[in-house]
Symmetry: none
Subunit: 211 residues, 2 copies
């Protein structure tokens, strides 16, 4: 059996070293190259003819997903496994849209990583269970996975909410009815799929809607 040729793309030398050390134990794998940045990956991938590329998302210069997109343009047969700590729907969707063969969180066990690599090598796909959850939800709810845009007026309200103002105060400040403010708040709760204002603030900050 030929060894599976891998390229690792991650900007943390320590983590690369860890993978190298771990995957090196398994004779089925051979790491033919390592890249610290997306740009390095672009060069390496054409040069080394790897079977599978393990790539983190947040790597410098060109991020992992964009690097994947570019490489697939050149060689559509390249296979990518996204290996990251980001469990946000946006990333997952983008990865799937662009034909990633795997999406794993870094909190998986080494055995699962090996299984994923094997599966992808044999022509399959392998996604973390949570990816399936995200997809299942979106199918059931028929919701758009990319979060709907928060409108300008809603954002105005949001800022005041984050400032500790009550609905009544916000209504007074914006010179509109309390009902209207309630509508804006409820709409945002629905759009961001959260239970209450606390979670709304948290998520809004995560999504960079709020400073």
């Amino acid at each position: 059996m030929d060894r599976i040729k891998l390229i690792l793309a991650d900007d943390h030398p320590l983590i690369r070293a860890g993978f190298r050390s771990l995957l090196g134990r398994n004779k089925a794998f051979e790491i033919v190259g390592e890249a610290e940045t997306g740009k390095e990956l672009l060069l390496l991938a054409s040069e080394k003819a790897p079977d599978i590329i393990l790539v983190d998302i947040t790597i410098p210069v060109i991020n992992g997903l964009d690097a994947m997109v570019q490489l697939k343009k050149i060689n559509p047969n390249l296979k990518f496994i996204i290996l990251t700590m980001h469990d946000e729907a946006g990333y997952v969707i983008k990865a799937l849209k662009n034909g990633a063969h795997g999406y794993l969180l870094k909190n998986i066990e080494i055995a699962e990583l090996e299984k994923a690599i094997q599966t992808v090598y044999e022509g399959g796909k392998y996604f973390s269970p949570f990816v399936t959850n995200i997809l299942a939800e979106s199918v059931n709810k028929q919701t758009v996975i990319d979060h709907e845009e928060i409108t300008l007026r809603e954002k105005e309200v949001l800022n005041l909410v984050a400032d500790g103002q009550s609905t009544k105060q916000i209504a007074a400040k914006l010179k509109i009815s309390i009902r209207t403010v309630e509508s804006h708040r409820l709409n945002m709760l629905k759009k961001l799929e959260v239970n209450n204002s606390s979670e709304l603030i948290k998520k809004a900050i995560d999504l960079k809607i709020l400073g």
Copy 2:
């Protein structure tokens, strides 16, 4: 020479495995335990008598820095090296204040990690160069770092609030009375001088109490 006994605390099994594999090569080190959460770490540390604890900051239940503070109360001789991806001043300051012996970013080379461990073991301290930069900056800015009146239990509640859980749900999860959860929430509102939970979440994130 005795081997240096280490405990690893990181919530990513893959990363722990990487460290184990890498540090295991060097006969000077011995990993006597691994923890996935801050709570696990508390148990392990008293049990295993490690020389040095390598700890990530963002680990579940109790974060790495708080776990360190707790453990130092019990045994002030324990040595900690913070090993994380967070380069924000707040974290660095808190780590230094609480007597961390090292602060490294995960993007260091393995050789540097080994050097850091050796240095700390021999009674020294080892900080990434960037730590000095951050300190220099924050001295000028005279920023707010002193709002650390929030207790551990309160922080637990806070995390659940930020997660969109209601007081009732939180009470159920923590197996305490609704009244108690209310107390914790109200205490935090007073301590941080905010009007409601929305502002609480916002401020907590600003103050790096919440991720």
